[in-house]
Symmetry: C2
Subunit: 327 residues, 2 copies
């Protein structure tokens, strides 16, 4: 399953609105004979890619796959049937398909005499490469990660507005790597005015990475003349988080990072539309300057937005905190 | 040395202005035969306590001690000579004595034919039980830990001023345990007015722990009538960090925690008088309300106070971050 997860990660960011599934085919003796990841929309799913690579060695073997094989006729034939035709005898998958249209793969497989084991490394997959897609399949909304970098005292810039760079080079590199796995990055008009970002995913040498997320600017006014995003960004003339997410879902966007300023973050919090927080906390103190979020709809301590910390790691000298709203 | 450190920790908070040293005596065969920690001022040092416990078994043995044995005649005879008289043949110590009056123990011991090994688990001791005292011995100033609890977005209270409780029960219990190891807790008059704290160290049942820190209130006005600290606190009528620290050093205070609000924290930062940050970050968002520190003397990003994170651990659902200013 670790290898199937690696396949999932490899294609993450290139498959939306389909899930970035990974699959490994083991032959009858248990040796890995085929690897595959889901191809861009219209292309083959992970199981088909892995079966093609395995060829006739798949007969009598096992398919290890990050998501329950699909059972529906969409742009491609159902994977459950393709696995049966290839002579696969065992299927091990991490997560079940919450999509009622596509689910039912397990039943199809079992009816054909294939043994099916569910739930292996479920958490690694559902918090990892399939997190955004599973959320999208359940809710119909893109998954929103609010990403910000702040000082230990919660400031995103100094008194005079300067902020380059609060977080370390290590963290900034990491963020570019994350961007290359995303469908879209959303910022507000204030961020465009203040920072004039390009929102591209670049490598350490400043060269663009192969996959680029869709840059999205939210705001009712026009983009400033000459802004880097003027001709590249999708401009949504609204401040309403649900309108933003609906427009993105229409374009097949599943995995969104919100990199906007405190006002936009506040609007998404008030709407309950943040699914994960990714905070880069730099070990610095500023003592003044704007905070990471403004007006999250909390006026007294008992109304505080409660989160659960999933993970804390060091990113160079910074802390990287991943947290999700408590349900 | 781990056992000697445990002895150091056991007496921490009860020895100032002397260091909370721990000592273990091993007999000739290497078995631990005596444990000791420094007694309150005027009482015996750790080495003497451990030698007393070991009795004649100390002859030909080893003393493992967290600090270099002292060489000066103070209120008690020099420990180096006491160790020699007891027939100790080997001394292993973690940290050297930066105090020129007391140092020289190693030379005295070696001159008497005792083998001395220095630096074993030096970091555990110098960041642990002897951290504050080593700072005090080097600078003449008490060691200041700035402790605060904030939300992930750096707020210490909600918009309406409510703050009970941002941090978890686990963290609050931990703070009471820390207080019982301290010499003094400093707050400002604003904190007295807003929170009316007692600044006592209490156990889980609300009962006072055996050792209580000195509560200190900083501010030029009188304490409010009826405040919990009115008859228990040392009131220093100044806002100047160095004046506060000098007054505390005069009283034999070595280890101070600053629990005041953002204004007092800002004054200590501007004066460069914070030696360690202990931040309890609760996984909540407030989006409004006061920040942990105001006016740290930073106006632009390049002037940011830079810290190094020493340690991050979970305290229940909260993050506990220990950081020190970068030198």
């Amino acid at each position: 399953m670790t290898l199937a997860i690696a396949e999932s990660e490899r294609v993450r960011g290139t498959t939306s609105p389909n899930p970035p599934v990974g699959c490994v085919i083991l032959d009858e003796g248990g040796d890995a004979v085929g690897f595959g990841g889901t191809q861009p929309v219209g292309g083959p799913h992970a199981e088909v890619m892995a079966l093609r690579a395995a060829g006739s060695k798949a007969r009598g073997g096992t398919a290890v796959v990050t998501l329950e094989p699909c059972a529906h006729h969409g742009r491609t034939p159902p994977c459950a049937e393709t696995l049966i035709e290839a002579g696969i005898k065992h299927v091990i998958h991490a997560t079940s398909d919450p999509n009622p249209k596509a689910a039912g793969g397990v039943e199809v497989l079992r009816a054909a005499g294939v043994t099916v084991e569910s739930g292996l490394m479920e958490q690694e997959v559902s918090r990892g490469p399939l997190r955004a897609w599973l959320h999208y399949a359940r809710t119909g909304r893109p998954h929103v990660t609010w990403k910000y970098a702040a000082s230990l005292d919660g400031r995103i810039a100094a008194r005079d507005g300067t902020s380059q760079w609060i977080s370390s080079e290590t963290s900034r590199k990491e963020v570019h790597g994350l961007r290359a796995k995303l469908d879209a990055i959303v910022v507000g008009m204030n961020t465009v005015r203040l920072d004039d970002p390009a929102l591209t995913a670049r490598d350490a040498g400043g060269m663009p990475l192969p996959h680029q997320p869709l840059p999205v600017v939210v705001g009712t006014s026009d983009l400033p003349e000459g802004a880097k995003l003027q001709h590249t960004a999708l401009h949504l003339r609204t401040h309403e988080p649900d309108a933003v997410l609906a427009a993105l879902a229409e374009r097949g966007v599943v995995d969104v990072v919100l990199e906007g300023g405190p006002t936009l973050a506040g609007a998404f919090w008030r709407a309950g539309r943040i699914d994960r927080v990714l905070a880069y906390i730099a070990p610095t103190l500023l003592g003044d300057g704007p905070a990471a979020v403004l007006d999250a709809g909390v006026s007294t301590i008992t109304d505080a937005v409660r989160l659960t910390v999933e993970d804390v790691t060091m990113s160079g000298p910074d802390l990287r905190i991943s947290a999700v709203p408590r349900t």
